[in-house]
């Protein structure tokens, strides 16, 4: 995180705000609600309170403007710059301005007012932009789930560096952005994707191309806005150029950056899992024999992609056919005739022909740390 240069801050904890005008894009109560929720994001993790006033001059004044609105930072029409805010101080200090040339929404469509307002109020309170891709104070707009705005630990650390901890006896915490070289890194899912590897963790993916020595970390929603966070398993079916993503008893299919229509679908109806199977832990698809393996608890299932049915005789115990990898796995991916199983911070390089583990690795061995 970064605080604004000179460390400007409000000297009081109880702040007021006013909504000077309303966008016609939303009902007034929707604007009120978005702004109230956006302030709550910050009051939940700091000792600050925010009260709306309609008379007198508020500390933070909220307005919607077109183009040049005489503050030396004209708006630029649709897209581009969405909003800006001023650092704490008297007069224009703390004020937040929203570009009326944008279409403001209360859902996943561009641009969600609650999401943008929460970011701008970070500036109103003295925060500058963060370079943490998972932080609310990251400067670019990336948003998919209107009900899932959560401050990252980076945002919480930032606001608490200025105003101190929350008055709540249980200190709030937030998710952290995965770091490729963190030795304690664990993954939710791993898959190949057109010759690259994609590792999934919470809202994020880590992407490793054979042509690039470093991993790219970004939000899953950047590639696939309609996929949920917390993907639990994924595999690529190279024959069809699709990747399937699993969460709970649903799955999505993607081709490149497109989520294919008609998804999510049920794993029970599509693959024939019994209803006792609630989620998939790990999966990979063997491009040579057209078999897809699903790991569920301490068992695994095998699906025939060509016949489109589950092979007979399954499920089987993981420990019988994949000895040495433990009885339960987080993720699996195939590479050069080896399978790589992920379990906690461990990674097992497994040779299917000899049915043995040939190397024990850290999960982040792929990232040249």
């Amino acid at each position: 995180f970064a605080v604004t240069e000179g460390n400007p801050k409000w000297e009081k904890k109880d702040l007021t705000y006013s909504i000077e005008n309303y966008t016609p894009d939303l009902a007034r109560e929707d604007v009120d609600n978005a702004i109230r929720k956006a302030f709550k994001v910050w009051s939940d993790v700091s000792p600050l309170t925010f009260t709306k006033i309609s008379e007198g001059e508020a500390d933070i004044k909220i307005s919607f403007y077109y183009g040049d609105h005489r503050d030396n930072s004209p708006f630029d029409g649709p897209n581009g710059i969405l909003a800006h805010a001023f650092q704490p101080g008297p007069g224009i200090g703390g004020d937040a301005h929203f570009d009326e040339d944008e279409k403001w929404t209360k859902d996943h469509r561009n641009y969600n007012l609650y999401r943008v307002a929460a970011h701008e109020f970070g500036h109103s309170l003295g925060l500058s932009h963060s370079s943490d891709i998972g932080a609310l104070m990251y400067p670019s707009y990336a948003f998919s789930d209107p009900n899932d705005i959560q401050l990252s630990q980076d945002d919480i650390d930032g606001i608490q560096a200025i105003y101190g901890p929350s008055d709540n006896p249980i200190q709030p915490t937030g998710p952290t952005t995965p770091q490729a070289c963190n030795r304690k890194l664990t993954f939710d899912a791993v898959t190949t994707l057109r010759g690259e590897k994609m590792f999934f963790k919470d809202r994020f993916y880590l992407r490793k191309s054979p042509y690039d020595s470093e991993a790219e970390v970004n939000l899953i929603s950047l590639f696939w806005p309609s996929l949920p966070s917390g993907i639990e398993a994924a595999h690529e079916v190279t024959e069809h150029d699709i990747v399937r993503f699993f969460k709970g008893d649903k799955y999505w299919a993607t081709r490149g950056q497109d989520v294919l229509p008609g998804y999510p679908r049920s794993i029970h109806r599509s693959f024939g899992f019994p209803t006792t199977v609630k989620k998939i832990d790990a999966t990979f698809s063997d491009e040579y024999d057209g078999k897809t393996y699903f790991f569920v608890g301490n068992k695994y299932w095998r699906y025939n992609e060509r016949r489109r049915s589950m092979d007979a005789g399954y499920p089987k115990l993981i420990t019988n056919d994949f000895p040495g990898i433990g009885s339960k796995v987080d993720a699996v991916v195939s590479d050069n005739e080896f399978l790589y199983f992920f379990s906690g911070t461990r990674q097992y390089k497994f040779e299917p022909q000899t049915k043995r583990v040939v190397a024990l690795l850290k999960t982040n061995s792929w990232f040249n740390c």
Partner: protein, 80 residues
């Protein structure tokens, strides 16, 4: 693939504007030019690429241009 990066005039202006707005690039006498590794534009580009976790090349490559075209907050990334 082109051996040398050639960017469109439109992109050139976009890079210039972006760096002026968000990276405090001074407008007087500074223009985006080719083969000037030490120019203020290159330095600001490197700063921007580092901030966003892009490959730091000092050149307006595709990833950099894509990032610059994303909708964003109007507050500069570096202080003024």
């Amino acid at each position: 693939f082109p051996a040398h990066l050639e960017i469109k005039e439109q992109d050139r202006e976009m890079v210039q504007n972006y760096l002026e707005k968000f990276y405090d690039l001074k407008t007087v006498g500074v223009k985006l030019t080719k083969n000037k590794d030490s120019s203020p534009v290159v330095e600001k580009l490197k700063k921007m690429q580092g901030f966003f976790g892009l490959k730091v090349t000092g050149k307006p490559d595709n990833e950099t241009l894509t990032m610059m075209k994303q909708p964003r907050c109007g507050v500069p990334d570096v202080s003024r």
